[in-house]
C-alpha cells in the first residue's frame, strides 16, 4: 500500500485557513509565511495578517498586545528563529498568560541541507520550561491541522513545532483520536514501549515492525503533546511494558526524553533509553542522511530496544 506523504507545516497552513472564519484570529509573519505556510491565510484574510518584517522579538509582543485586546494571534517563523524571542515569550507571553500561539516550522535536523544554523534541536526543551505554555510537536499533517485548530480554545499560550519535509501520514481516518494532551497508541505490545514525537513516530513504527519479525512486540505512542505530558499514559505503559525508549529529532537534553524520564524517575522508575541528538550540532545533509548520521532512524531505535531487553 502506498503511504501518503505530507509535511506538517502544510497541516498548519490548512488549519489557519479554516480558522479564518473566526474574526478574532489574526496571523503574524516574520518574512517566512511562504515557508511556514501562513501565506494561505494571508491571501484570504489580508486585513488580519500582520507583517512584522524580519523581527521576531517585536512579532511576539505585538501578538501579546493583540491577545490582551481579545484577539487570537498565530505567529510563525522557523523554529530556530523563534528562539531569538525567547525572553519575549517568557516575560511578555507566558508570564501574563496571554494566548499567543507560536509555530516554529523547519524544526529539527530533518530540515536538512540548510545546515546546523537552521536545525533547531532545543526548542521543545526551552519552551517546556515556561509555565502556562503548551508544547506540541505533531507527526503528520492531519494531526498538525487538528491540533492547531484546537488551539483557539486553549486560552493560554502555546508553541508548536512543525517540520519542513514530508513524512508518512498516520492519521487519515483517525482524526477523532487527536486531542491536545493525549498521547495516541499506534501499536500495541508488551515487551517494551517506544514513546516518540514528530518525524520519529514513523521511524518508531518501522522499528517496531522490524522487531516484530524477531518476536519482540513493542507499544508505539505518538506523544504529540510534550507539555502537558500525558502522564497517565506514560505510567500505564511503564507498568505494562517495564522498559521505555523515547525518540525525538531534538537534543536528548530536555525534550520528550527529558519530560518522560523526569516523570518516571519520581513515579515509576523503569529502564530507559533516550533516542535524540547526542548533545551536538547537526550539519548539511538530506533528511534521511541526518537521521542516520545522528542515530535517530528506525534501525537505531530498534537497536535501543534490543539493548534494553538484553540488559
Amino acid at each position: 500500500m502506498m503511504v501518503r506523504m505530507a509535511a506538517t507545516r502544510d497541516g498548519y497552513g490548512d488549519a489557519l485557513l479554516e480558522l479564518g472564519g473566526n474574526q478574532r484570529v489574526v496571523v503574524l509573519e516574520a518574512d517566512l509565511g511562504k515557508s511556514t505556510k501562513s501565506l494561505h491565510f494571508r491571501k484570504q484574510f489580508p486585513q488580519r495578517t500582520i507583517s512584522c518584517g524580519i523581527g521576531e522579538q517585536n512579532m511576539f509582543l505585538v501578538g501579546a498586545g493583540l491577545a490582551a485586546s481579545g484577539y487570537i494571534p498565530f505567529a510563525s517563523t522557523f523554529a530556530i528563529f523563534t528562539e531569538r524571542g525567547f525572553e519575549q515569550m517568557r516575560n511578555g507571553i507566558a508570564r501574563p498568560n496571554l494566548a499567543v500561539h507560536v509555530c516554529g516550522s523547519h524544526g529539527g535536523t530533518h530540515t536538512g541541507t540548510d545546515g546546523s544554523s537552521a536545525q533547531s534541536i532545543e526548542d521543545l526543551a526551552i519552551y517546556r520550561t515556561l509555565p502556562n505554555v503548551t508544547v506540541l510537536h505533531p507527526c503528520d499533517d492531519v494531526s498538525t491541522k487538528i491540533l492547531t485548530k484546537q488551539l483557539v480554545h486553549l486560552n493560554s499560550p502555546s508553541y508548536t513545532r512543525t517540520a519542513r519535509n514530508k513524512s508518512p501520514v498516520l492519521y487519515d481516518g483517525r482524526e477523532d483520536e487527536i486531542e491536545i494532551g493525549k498521547g495516541v497508541i499506534h501499536r500495541d505490545g508488551n515487551d517494551a514501549a517506544i514513546i516518540a514525537c514528530g518525524i520519529l513516530v514513523s521511524e518508531a513504527l518501522q522499528a517496531a515492525q522490524e522487531l516484530s519479525l524477531e518476536g519482540i512486540e513493542v507499544t508505539v505512542i505518538d506523544m504529540h503533546t510534550i507539555k502537558p505530558l500525558d502522564e497517565a499514559l506514560v505510567l500505564d505503559v511503564a507498568k505494562k511494558c517495564g522498559k521505555i525508549v523515547t525518540a525525538e529529532d531534538h537534543s536528548i537534553i530536555g525534550g520528550l526524553g527529558g519530560a518522560v524520564s523526569e516523570y518516571l524517575i519520581e513515579n515509576y522508575p523503569v529502564p530507559m533509553k533516550r533516542i535524540g541528538v547526542a548533545d551536538r550540532f547537526g550539519e548539511s545533509g538530506e533528511s534521511e542522511e541526518m537521521l542516520n548520521l545522528l542515530g535517530l532512524s528506525a534501525p537505531f531505535i530498534a537497536e535501543a530496544v534490543r539493548k534494553l531487553l538484553n540488559s
Partner: protein
C-alpha cells in the same frame, strides 16, 4: 479638566507617595518615578480614557509603562485616581501585594502591561493599537519608554513596524532623564540625536520639558493629531526631580533613602 495648579498639586502628592513607597520597602526605583510623574499626572488627569470602576473596560485607552521599574510613579497615579487604595501602596515589593516590584497586570488593577524587562512595551503597544484598528475603535495606546531603554534593539524593530502599519493611534512618551542603572546614559551608550532618530524612522516628533505642566499639556494635544504616523513626545526630564539629593544623581536610580534622607525629602515635598 483640571487646572495647571491642580495638576501640580497632584504631582506633589504623587512624589510624596513615591518616596514613601521606596523608603518603606527600602528598595525600588525612585529616580525614574520622579522623572516621569508630572507626565503621568497630566496624562491620567486630562487625556487617558479609563474607568477606575471598570479597569478592564474593553474600549479603554491603553497605558503601557514599558520602563516597568518606575512602578512607584504608576502606583502613585493609580491611587490618585482610585484604581487602588492609598493603603495598597504599602504593599509595594511585599509578598502578595498589588504593587509588585515591576508593574504587573495580574496583580494590579489599571495596569495593562506586565513589565520588568526593558524594550518590550512598544511592541505590546503596537499590538494594542492594531487591535483598536481591527475593532474599528478610536481608542489610543500610550507607551512610556525610558531613554536608557531605547538602547534595546527590539525597540527599533517596533519603531519601524509601527510606521509601516501607519499606526497613528500609537503614542510614545520618552522620558529622557539621562541616567540609567549604572551611570549617565552618555557614559553607558551615547545616543546622540534622539529626536532625529525617531524622525528618520518616520514618527511625528515633539520635544517638551517633561516637568513644565503647560508644555506637557501641549504635548498631549500634539499626540491627538490625526495623521497616520505614530507619535512621540520626547520629554526632557530630570532624574529624581523634586528631591534635591536625588536629582541628576545616578545613585538614586535604584536605591532607597535612609531615615535622614527621607526626612529631608518629606520636608522638600512640603510634608510638615
Amino acid at each position: 479638566m483640571s487646572s495647571i495648579a491642580e495638576l501640580e498639586e497632584v504631582a506633589r502628592k504623587c512624589r510624596v507617595r513615591i518616596v514613601d513607597m521606596v523608603y518603606n520597602a527600602q528598595a525600588g526605583h525612585p529616580g525614574g518615578s520622579l522623572s516621569e510623574i508630572d507626565i503621568l499626572v497630566a496624562l491620567y488627569g486630562t487625556t487617558l480614557r479609563v474607568d477606575p470602576k471598570n479597569p478592564s473596560w474593553e474600549d479603554r485607552d491603553r497605558f503601557i509603562l514599558s520602563k516597568g521599574h518606575a512602578s512607584p510613579g504608576m502606583y502613585a497615579i493609580l491611587a490618585e485616581h482610585g484604581f487602588i487604595q492609598e493603603h495598597d501602596l504599602t504593599s509595594y515589593r511585599v509578598l502578595g501585594g498589588k504593587c509588585q516590584g515591576h508593574v504587573d497586570a495580574k496583580w494590579c488593577p489599571g495596569v495593562d502591561f506586565s513589565a520588568g524587562s526593558l524594550g518590550m512595551g512598544l511592541s505590546f503597544g503596537m499590538g494594542s493599537a492594531l487591535a483598536a484598528r481591527l475593532d474599528g475603535s478610536q481608542r489610543q495606546a500610550y507607551v512610556m519608554l525610558g531613554d536608557g531603554e531605547i538602547q534595546e534593539g527590539s525597540v527599533w524593530e517596533a519603531a519601524m513596524a509601527a510606521v509601516h502599519h501607519e499606526l497613528g493611534n500609537l503614542n510614545v512618551i520618552l522620558d529622557c532623564n539621562g541616567i540609567q542603572n549604572d551611570d549617565f546614559c552618555d557614559e553607558q551608550m551615547r545616543m546622540f540625536d534622539i529626536p532625529k532618530k525617531w524622525e528618520a524612522f518616520g514618527w511625528n516628533v515633539k520635544i517638551i520639558d517633561g516637568h513644565n505642566m503647560s508644555e506637557i499639556l501641549e504635548g498631549l494635544e500634539f499626540l491627538k493629531n490625526s495623521n497616520q504616523k505614530p507619535n512621540i513626545l520626547i520629554a526632557r526630564t530630570v532624574k529624581g526631580k523634586g528631591v534635591s539629593y536625588m536629582e541628576n544623581n545616578p545613585s538614586f536610580h535604584g536605591a532607597a533613602p535612609n531615615d535622614e534622607q527621607y526626612a529631608l525629602a518629606m520636608k522638600e515635598l512640603g510634608v510638615a
